[in-house]
């Protein structure tokens, strides 16, 4: 919109265009005319939000008493109302609860796995090494031998492999 119209837009919308220059501008500027038309249409729509004429704008008798009842029921606004009443606050509260739940579940399960020997056996502990050996035979299928042992005790795992090879030859 051109400044000539923009500066006087309230008068233009009220169709109180006194200056000839503005009338002249509107008569040949399609851009301004179109925008003014859009604004006028919206103004008419906004005016639809007026209470109808003749509407008895009085609440029912005893309104003040009901307001006071509500005030007593509501009490002063607390910080918690921010979380309870606003959508953003509610989302923060839900996210915090979900996070707390996740952390709780993680802590409980990690403690349980540390204490429970059955769970502990299922997974190699830190410092232990899982070894898998594939033993290929000439006339038998390949076999996989899994060994779990201390990485420092390399000797014992070697023995296990040799013992297995011996038993394989015997078969």
């Amino acid at each position: 919109m051109h400044r000539e119209i923009r500066d006087q837009i309230e008068d233009v919308l009220a169709e109180d265009v006194r200056a000839a220059s503005q009338r002249e501008h509107l008569s040949h500027c399609e851009e301004c005319r179109s925008e003014v038309r859009g604004m006028r249409e919206q103004t008419a729509l906004i005016r639809e939000l007026r209470a109808p004429e003749g509407f008895a704008a009085e609440p029912r008798a005893g309104f003040y008493a009901r307001v006071m009842e509500r005030i007593e029921a509501d009490g002063p606004i607390s910080i918690w109302n921010l979380f309870i009443e606003s959508a953003f606050g509610r989302r923060i509260a839900v996210a915090s609860m979900a996070l707390a739940l996740l952390v709780g579940v993680y802590l409980v399960t990690s403690e349980r796995s540390a204490e429970d020997p059955m769970l502990a056996v299922q997974q190699p502990l830190a410092g232990q090494m899982e070894q898998q050996l594939i033993v290929a035979g000439e006339d038998g299928p390949a076999r996989v031998i899994t060994q779990v042992g201390q990485s420092s005790a390399g000797q014992s795992s070697e023995d296990a492999v040799l013992a297995d090879l011996v038993s394989y030859q015997e078969q």
Binding site: M1, R6, D7, Q8, I9, E10, D11, E31, S34, E35, G38, M39, Q42, T43, A44, L45, I46, R47, E48, L49, R50, A51, P52, E53, G54, F55, A57, E58, P59, R60, F63, Y64, R66, V67, R70, I71, D74, P76, I77, A87
Partner: protein, 216 residues
Amino acid sequence: MDGSIGILPFPIAGEGTRARPRVDHKNSEEAALVRRVQARDEMAFREVVERYQSKVFSIIYGILRNRNDAEDIAQQVFAKVYFSLKSFDFRSSLLTWIYKITVNECYDYLRKKRVRKLVYESDFSQEDAQRMEASEPAVDSAVPADTRLAQRDLILKLLSKVSEEERTLILMKEVEGHSVEELAGMTGLNENTIKVKLFRTRQKLLKAAGRLTRAR
């Protein structure tokens, strides 16, 4: 319309703008009433309620068109006024401040009920629509009630796209019929600022309407 919409480089310096003395909201009769409420004078609060209840009720009814909701929200507005009046800073008139709370409460209500459509799909009964049609001297009486309700729904949606301040200003201008001068007096802003804010609001509404139309 082109890409220049939304660009307003500096405040309007209109020829018709007059420098008016700013209204002193701190030293009015209304300010004295507010101070009494702030000092927990219950009679003063009663006076505030009685003075503004009709105004508040008609603002809410104008937006929601439901008497029961209007009553309920009006109670909520005055409860908020009661609890918040201690932080009222006298920068605007009490009416402007209450008006803002009222419009915000209406929009909170609309938001909570996810209402835009419900406004006319469930809250409005057929009887309401007929009464509205019969009682209102409509802008265009040839427009059927359901179309007008849809238009109201649209404008409420559009108004939700602008800031609280912009919404309050445009409603005070177009619904309450206050002039720019009066708005300047009520808000404590100068006339040029009011004009700029109104213009920007109108442009935002136009843009929002354009986006909504394209999305449909």
